[in-house]
């Protein structure tokens, strides 16, 4: 039986179907989860998709943090379940303190959509272990509030412990230290701004590099944690 990846739909989620397609094309089974679900039993991993949860009013991800499902996702993440947040999902993970730092308005103040080159800095996470470290991937980045910020001390700590997962080759938004994605201490929770789920088919995406994300979690689930 293939691994089951739960994809959460918040009111205002936009990339939930696309994440499901990516999971499916990558060889796993997508399972739809609802923001009000108090249970997420029966899934092996969770994907928080992009979009504008609850309209992204106030701050992106600020309101989604209080949804029912996030309590359970938090508990599951603490217990080691692989969780990935893409774009708005990354913002939700930061707002929920599952990942350090915050995502603020792009330095150039605009929403910008462009294929973006990223370096995979570490394979030691549940969602990147299928990549060679240093590999360059191309995912579309599309956001208005994707500038990663954190205290210098936090940034140093992330660098030292190898928790910077993706770095921009050409920083599109002013993120500190070109950071595009980070992970939790245990490496099971990963957040990134650019969209791997929009890079899974040659016909519609700038690359098919996004499939590596699904391949990674499948390999993680079948072989166990690396850290």
């Amino acid at each position: 039986m293939s691994a089951r990846i739960g994809i959460v739909t918040f009111p205002g989620s936009l990339d939930d179907r696309d994440a499901a397609r990516a999971v499916y094309l990558g060889g796993a089974e997508p399972v739809r989860l609802w923001h009000d679900d108090a249970q997420i039993s029966g899934v092996d991993g969770v994907w928080l998709p992009g979009g504008f949860s609850y309209g992204d009013y106030l701050r992106c991800g600020a309101i989604a943090r209080f949804s029912q499902v996030m309590d359970t996702v938090k508990a599951a993440a603490d217990a080691g379940m692989p969780v990935i947040g893409v774009c708005n999902g990354f913002q939700v993970l930061c707002e929920s303190h599952l990942l350090p730092g915050a995502l603020v308005r792009n330095a150039h103040l605009r929403y910008r959509n462009a294929p973006t080159r990223l370096r995979v800095e570490t394979e030691r996470t549940a969602w990147t272990r299928a990549f060679e470290p240093g590999t360059e991937v191309v995912f579309p980045a599309k956001h208005g509030e994707g500038r990663y910020v954190a205290d210098e001390a936090v940034l140093d700590e992330l660098e030292d412990s190898g928790r910077v997962v993706f770095r921009y080759a050409d920083n599109p938004n002013g993120s500190m230290r070109d950071i595009a994605g980070v992970c939790s201490e245990a490496g099971n929770v990963v957040g990134l701004m650019p969209h791997p789920e929009h890079a899974v088919e040659a016909l519609t995406g700038p690359s098919t590099d996004g499939l590596g994300i699904v391949a990674s979690v499948l390999s993680h689930l079948s072989e166990g944690a690396v850290r």
Binding site: L14, G55, T204
Partner: protein, 603 residues
Amino acid sequence: MTRQPLNVAVDTVGVATATPDEKQPWAELGLKDDEYARIRDILGRRPTQAELAMYSIMWSEHCSYKSSRVHLRQFGQKNPKTPRLLAGIGENAGVVAIDENIAVTFKVESHNHPSFVEPKQGAATGVGGIIRDIIAMGARPIAVMDSLRFGDIDHPDTARVLPGVVDGVSHYGNCVGLPNIGGETVFDPCYQGNPLVNALAVGVMPRARLQSMQASGTGNVVILLGAKTGRDGIGGVSVLASATFSEDGDEDSRPSVQVGDPFEEKLLIEVCLELFDTGLVVGVQDLGGAGLTCALSETAAAGDGGMHVDLELVPLRAKGMEPHDILASESQERMLLIVDPANVENVLARAQRWGLLATAIGEVTDSGRLVIDYHGQTVVDVPPASLADEGPVYERPFTEPNDLALIAVDRAETLPRPTTDDEIRQTVLDMAASPNLCDKTWITEQYDSSVFGNTVLGTPHDAGVLRLDERSGIGIALSLDGNSRFARLDPYVGAQLNLAEAYRNVALTGATPIAVSDCLNFGSPEDPHVMWQFERAVTGIADGCQKMGIPVTGGNVSFYNQTGREAIHPTPVIGVLGVIDDVAKRIPLGLGRTGDTIALIGT
């Protein structure tokens, strides 16, 4: 003036009957003498304030198409017959069959004036409005396009309008989660005080899910879904404000612009589709420019009986709103549903699950009248068709502008031409740097193009291509084009050249063009020269479509794009939709590989 006590100072049908001579501000509301007389005739008494507001709205140029209707008839007369056409002119948007299971609906609409007043919200609510037309047909919106026209690029007001408009299109489309797959941006001084914002939306549905706007089935319940009703855009009827309410109102109860909430719209999409899929609604209509007035009268007129509404049940956002305010409000993100009483609870529960407000406000009756009560007093009692279908129709005079001959003398052959290599080089550089030809990435990179994962071609291609079905690979191509300089020189030929351009753009992707939607942006219909341009352009499009064998399925007319006596160039904007059997075979833009042969086809 006879008025009832303060707290019930509502102009009811009873009051109207008892006070036939009360002075009414029909002229301020834009109604002509004979139109007001006809309303009194229809009702057999003077209209109430609420009725007067409703007639003034529904009989406006915008809603009644009173100046354009006689010409638009040509589309129906000349449209080639095609079995693909499932719904055409007269519906919220045209619907065409793609294969035996899938249908697609699309439409272009203008939001020009609001975008000049408040560029961001004007453009945003323009996108929001056209998306709701698509939902109302039963389809899931899957993409948007935008055709934008501004004044001179160096004019200070362009610096206000352009970024705001782009921000509005981007914000609304991105937040609702629709890829923007193309459009156009044109600069010309003729648009200085009248920028054009035309938005196209396209949606897809199983053929069986096609919805109707009919309020049919006596006893069925009328439900208002979505946002609360506020004072948005009630400007037109604000002359009706009575002194009795103003002390309660805001410090500033001037007509206010509509503000969009794309998050609410996203929820509307999801709830409506869920309701359509579960077969829970009998009829549906979006609330657009004319708010409840339009939605109630159109659904009632399309249905088979009448309708009764208790207006005080409408959830309000603002204090002190009178019946005519509630009826005229242009608050965004609202839909009207007609639901079997047995399903009401289910419908309300599904809306609530998504966090959307849904309220039963009335029911379908067999009275043949649209009756609206406010706290138990009847404020409206009219035959709905008199509002929706039987508005005034004008045969406005039209004559050829006398400067046309002068303009025609100025031929391209008389222009200086570059001859030396250096001059040719400089001309190419100048052209590449000119506002109308330069790179538009600053705009297009602010639009999401890949959400849904079905965008096969988007900007900068001449047409957008979307996959509809992952298994079969079937898809559609869309192009949206206008060229007002051609149309200014010769509106008939110019409109056909526009049509041909959009048609070619679609065909060049490998798709077969099958349908047209158009947005006709013109100056004042009261100017015979403008009316001539309009008549010529419509005839050009209708004749062109007949020759090419594709029907016009719908569209929109925007008149009064003029400042003082200066009208914009006639600007028909034409959207062509094509079908492509396998999107993997689409032909992208570009020069291919080294060694490929380059050929020029045509004249």
